[in-house]
Symmetry: none
Subunit: 201 residues, 4 copies
Amino acid sequence: MKSSTAKTPDTSRRSERSRTAILQASMELVGEVGYNKLTIEAIASRAGVGKQTIYRWWPSKAAVLLDAFTATVDSDEYANGIPDSGDLEADLKAVLRATVDEFTDPSFEAPYRALAIAGAADAELAAQFAERLTGPGFAVYERRLRAAQEAGQVDPDLDLSLATELLLGPFQQRWMTYYRPLTYEFVDDLVDMALRAFAPR
Amino acid sequence: MKSSTAKTPDTSRRSERSRTAILQASMELVGEVGYNKLTIEAIASRAGVGKQTIYRWWPSKAAVLLDAFTATVDSDEYANGIPDSGDLEADLKAVLRATVDEFTDPSFEAPYRALAIAGAADAELAAQFAERLTGPGFAVYERRLRAAQEAGQVDPDLDLSLATELLLGPFQQRWMTYYRPLTYEFVDDLVDMALRAFAPR
Amino acid sequence: MKSSTAKTPDTSRRSERSRTAILQASMELVGEVGYNKLTIEAIASRAGVGKQTIYRWWPSKAAVLLDAFTATVDSDEYANGIPDSGDLEADLKAVLRATVDEFTDPSFEAPYRALAIAGAADAELAAQFAERLTGPGFAVYERRLRAAQEAGQVDPDLDLSLATELLLGPFQQRWMTYYRPLTYEFVDDLVDMALRAFAPR
Amino acid sequence: MKSSTAKTPDTSRRSERSRTAILQASMELVGEVGYNKLTIEAIASRAGVGKQTIYRWWPSKAAVLLDAFTATVDSDEYANGIPDSGDLEADLKAVLRATVDEFTDPSFEAPYRALAIAGAADAELAAQFAERLTGPGFAVYERRLRAAQEAGQVDPDLDLSLATELLLGPFQQRWMTYYRPLTYEFVDDLVDMALRAFAPR
DNA sequence: GTTTAAGCGAGACGGTACGTCTAGTCTTACG
DNA sequence: CGTAAGACTAGACGTACCGTCTCGCTTAAAC
């Protein structure tokens, strides 16, 4: 056998400056040219970095972008969770309306869609995408629903995980397939309909 | 502007033999190598056709594949609609279980996913995809729900279009993002939960 | 087996325009940057040609340069041979002095040296180099010596081939290794000494 | 200009162990893979040495190889000179036949050719090569010819330096350009022909 | 029936980006 | 400070496809 060494580079010597420049260049470029026309060469050039430095640390341009995107989001997004005013309907509508806004802002939408597409084409990447972005996103809804459940506002036997899918699936489907526009009205109606499914019997 | 002649080739002289060979080769190849590694050159070569013959009639490889896929589906799929046994729950579960099977069969899944991905990356294609595949698919659910509505089994004020999204969105989301496995149990639970949202008040 | 086809491109469809542009660009660039810094990419770029067009028709940059150089020389150089004034010594000195001039002109010397070096490193290329450049060059000397032999000016048993090597070897050695400068005096002395070896006994 | 310090490292602290390992690795590798595929990285790796240690002490891989090769030759080769049996022809044929053997042995030929090629491409290196290898080699022939001259066996006015070039030039030319094979017959004939040029008038 | 012009298979073309390789420099930790 | 190790910027390598562009050949429509 060749050997198990020679594979992984020494993380402790990694250039933080290069890493940062690459992630930033990726985010800039994906916004400028879109994912399909995003090239490793362009990232390297924009970042002032050798191509090899990218290939050394990431297996694909999707992986670069996932890191880049995660870096810009990680901090804030999932920390606080959904506010709990006691009014579930209002809270869900508020957060979903905010999400509509987010998915309407190209600087967020472009890289996120790029990643979603890359994930759809590559199950392994999809797993990472789910773990680092979708998963935490769903979790905050689940948490809010649990609070509502404990407050007796939704059915005590409700499967919260599936409930979250019921709520977010239609949203994600519209967005991903351009099936219909993402509007406040849509999410309001969606919440109304979903809450009827969640209601205590 | 260019003259209006140069644009559209003469459809009447088109070689049916070539057209068929191209569609068939596309379907074969997308199954063998996946969408990303599917190349026009390979399609042309497999079909025994010049590259130009493809470029003459289709604007992109996605368009080729859409035609190819549509050709294999068109006939049967949407003709009959969802059977109406009078038991909405049973009917929906039956058809969704069948859909699970379909989306688990690689020879169907591979090209369909390819198209979904291509659509996610290109709104124009997405429109065609919606019109020719998603739309008719959703319509059959809507029709069945309407029958149920007329039979008084679901709320008379229910927005049938949104209801269909509530039912199929979670399914599509799981499938597209590999979020979780598509199982009979999942669709059964999904139907159960959705029907509570649809129920007359 | 893969097949014996697919290898050789169709010569009849070759673009003469591209071929010419490539050869010319090669000659220009080798003069500007030298052989070691001559790159296929630069040739392609200068010639306004895709890299593949070079790789399609030549196996290496040395082969390109050999063609390029041969094309500039072929026509004239070896056609006439060495003039025969009846005075062997004068004729040899004249042609060798002319050769000194040639090897002192960088526009000739640079590509020729490049090829000689490439040949020294690759026996296969050396064979082509010998066949197309060195060989014909040696042959004209041999012919002139043969005339002298028939005129009784050199030993009738002289091995003309070896005699040519005796005459040109020291020249080539000086040039190739920068051992000492190539001057008129050197070639004059060389002819004088060699002729003593050629003289009838 | 940079300060004058930065240039030359402190020789007294140089690691002899590293120097030796580098030279040895160079000789091994040039025999194994040839000059063109000889890389600094491979030398460093084989020698168990950092690349910088090579770059610190040598300006190019050719310079490394020149040192490496010289180290293996220096001692013996030129010490004794050509034996003088009194029979010039026999002595020259003997030593040239031995040289044929040497240039037929790949373990000698490979690095020597590598250096010759590097020299042909770089006049500065060529000067070093001439001074340390070619020059001394030619000198031993000159010395033997001088002895013959003093013994009245060759023309007293013979230019011994040029005579040496006449003798070795054809040999070098054959070898360097693969023009024709290096055989005993060739060198015998070469000596015969050259001696006629050297003979007293 | 012949003519003629389009579509056709084939594949060379100018390009772009790929992922790999090596050069030569720079950084870190050690002795 | 020299060293071993190895990450870094830079850029050429040879390959794979892109979409366009001839080439002759075949073939259906218009004469």
